[in-house]
């Protein structure tokens, strides 16, 4: 499994990837963020969760510094350059998380129950990554 960010022709990076960057450039490469650690920028614990979502649901926005590859970074299809960062949102593996914590992505087969909510189960993937403090 990979946590795939896109690098675009204009040099920008996004997670998730899009057919074009915000400036309209085409994607040229991918970066597997699951091989990096990230810093928690902010977090919340949501108690009023929709159908099929764990309760409570602690969510974080994290920032990956792509110039700081983990030990597995050699597997990345492309390595980041100094100062390059990209953000992601995800569930935390614990409710005990703080701004500034370092976290790593951990794969989960099902982040919420497909079909329990309004979205058509076959319209998207439901596996993904939670963020675990390291």
């Amino acid at each position: 499994m990979t946590m795939e960010a896109y690098r675009y022709e204009d040099g920008s990076i996004s997670y998730p990837g899009h057919p074009r960057s915000l400036d309209g450039s085409e994607p040229v490469d991918t970066i597997d963020l699951s091989e990096y650690t990230a810093e928690v920028i902010t977090w919340t614990t949501s108690t009023a969760t929709p159908p099929g979502v764990r309760q409570p649901n602690t969510l974080v926005i994290v920032e990956f510094d792509l110039s700081e590859a983990s030990e597995d970074a050699s597997r990345s299809q492309i390595e980041g350059e100094d100062g390059e960062t990209v953000r992601a949102i995800g569930q935390a593996t614990t409710d005990d998380v703080e701004t500034g914590d370092t976290v790593r992505p951990v794969h989960v087969d099902e982040l919420r129950e497909p079909g329990a909510g309004i979205r058509e189960p076959d319209s998207q993937e439901w596996d993904g990554y939670r963020f675990e403090p390291v």
């Binding site: 009023a48 909510g117 998207q124």
Partner: protein, 385 residues
């Protein structure tokens, strides 16, 4: 380009209503026509702002149903969906229809029926606007507010109480709005001791789930004089978007759609932030009032909380009264109606019909936010001179 006037306004009682969406829309539409003393047969264009009647109620085609039920057939009609900013987007569509010369009488009505759903179900309908990478995490709009509020408070060293004061102010204003869902005052302690919904935000930092509808009647200014002595003119209006994926924004405390639409509306109107006498901001969550105050130039970045603490936005004593209607926080937030209801409040303030909520105002601004700043419409209105 024709100057566009608003000659009538109405809103239904907001709250938990027995009626379903078409009946709510019809109620506001007929009240608005009566307010302006205009017959339904004069309506050339009918816009219906509504986010999710299909998802909430299994009722699509609401625009045609309303056209029939108010007696406006064969008027052109169109449903306008821009999620929570459907009402503002409807105002933009109505303005365009008149300014372009395509219509000489355009009725806008916005509404939603939500309270028959559980909080979880309603939250999920709204969260369905998110990107798949966001949706599968279980993120909700309140979660985005919690994430952003924490970042704002930590980054700008703002006290948690400052957000509570937004809720207290807007509830106080709502007491004088007979159509508001909540007409009761609260204090800071009540907010800070209410149940956590999305840490650090609590129950009273959030607007309720609401049924309701609101309407406005647009026509060329030259026509307005035939119907009304008192009317308002749409001086400036603009809409803009920000990223679909919220965490991709460069600065989590800046809503690009607010900034862009605000600049567009200011440029079109010739007014600036200092000229605005009263504003309705989209306080779906208390933190949004800070972000819009800053995005619209009423405060420097990271400083809005200080103005709220100083009483700058209070209705009776502040320099810039914000959310005199009670805002979404107290008045309620029937998605498709909210942007229209903001317009109704500004209209009533500018023509002097706001009763105990009345402030001294010649220029008013409404900012209607869809998603978590994903789509935004800013409208500036002025009293007719």
């Amino acid at each position: 380009m024709e100057r566009v006037a608003i000659i009538g306004a109405s809103m239904t009682q907001f709250g938990q209503r027995e009626e379903w969406v078409v009946d709510l829309l019809t109620e506001a539409a007929l009240d608005c026509l009566e307010d302006a003393a205009v017959d339904a047969s004069a309506v050339e264009h009918l816009y219906v702002s509504n986010m999710a009647s299909g998802e909430f109620e299994g009722q699509s085609g609401v625009m045609n149903a309303v056209a029939h039920d108010i007696g406006a057939v064969p008027a052109y009609t169109q449903r306008v969906d821009q999620t929570s900013s459907s009402g503002g987007a409807g105002m933009y569509a109505a303005w365009q229809s008149v300014a372009s010369g395509a219509s000489e009488m355009t009725l806008l009505v916005g509404g939603e029926k939500m309270t028959h759903k559980t909080t979880g179900e309603a939250t999920d309908v709204i969260a369905s606007l998110t990107h798949p990478a966001e949706y599968k995490t279980g993120v909700t709009l309140p979660s985005f507010a919690g994430l952003t509020a924490r970042h704002y408070l930590e980054r700008f060293d703002a006290p948690r109480e400052s957000l509570a004061k937004v809720a207290v102010k807007n509830h106080e204003n709502g007491v004088d709005n007979p159509h508001a869902q909540f007409q009761k005052e609260i204090d800071v302690e009540t907010v800070l001791e209410s149940p956590i919904v999305a840490d650090p935000l609590r129950l009273y930092d959030f607007c309720p789930i609401t049924d309701g509808s609101a309407a406005l009647l647009f026509c060329p200014e030259s026509v307005a004089k035939e119907y009304a002595d008192e009317y308002v003119v749409v001086a400036g209006i603009d809409g803009a978007t920000d990223t679909h994926v919220v965490h991709e924004r460069e600065d989590p405390t800046v809503m690009g759609g607010v900034v862009e639409s605000g600049e567009g509306a200011y440029e079109m109107s010739g007014y600036g932030p200092d000229d605005v006498d009263v504003a309705e901001l989209h306080d779906m969550f208390t933190i949004l009032e800070f972000l819009q105050m800053e995005g619209l130039g009423f405060a420097e970045q990271g400083e809005a909380w200080k103005l709220v603490e100083e009483g700058y936005t209070e209705r009776d004593t502040g320099e810039l009264p914000i959310n005199t209607s009670g805002g979404l926080k107290s008045k309620g937030h029937p998605l498709g109606a909210s942007g229209v209801a903001q317009g109704v409040e500004i209209y009533e303030q500018l023509v002097g019909e706001a009763g105990p909520r009345q402030v001294d105002a010649d220029v008013g601004l409404a900012c209607n936010v869809g998603g978590f700043g994903n789509c935004v419409i800013t409208t500036i209105m002025e009293a007719a001179r």
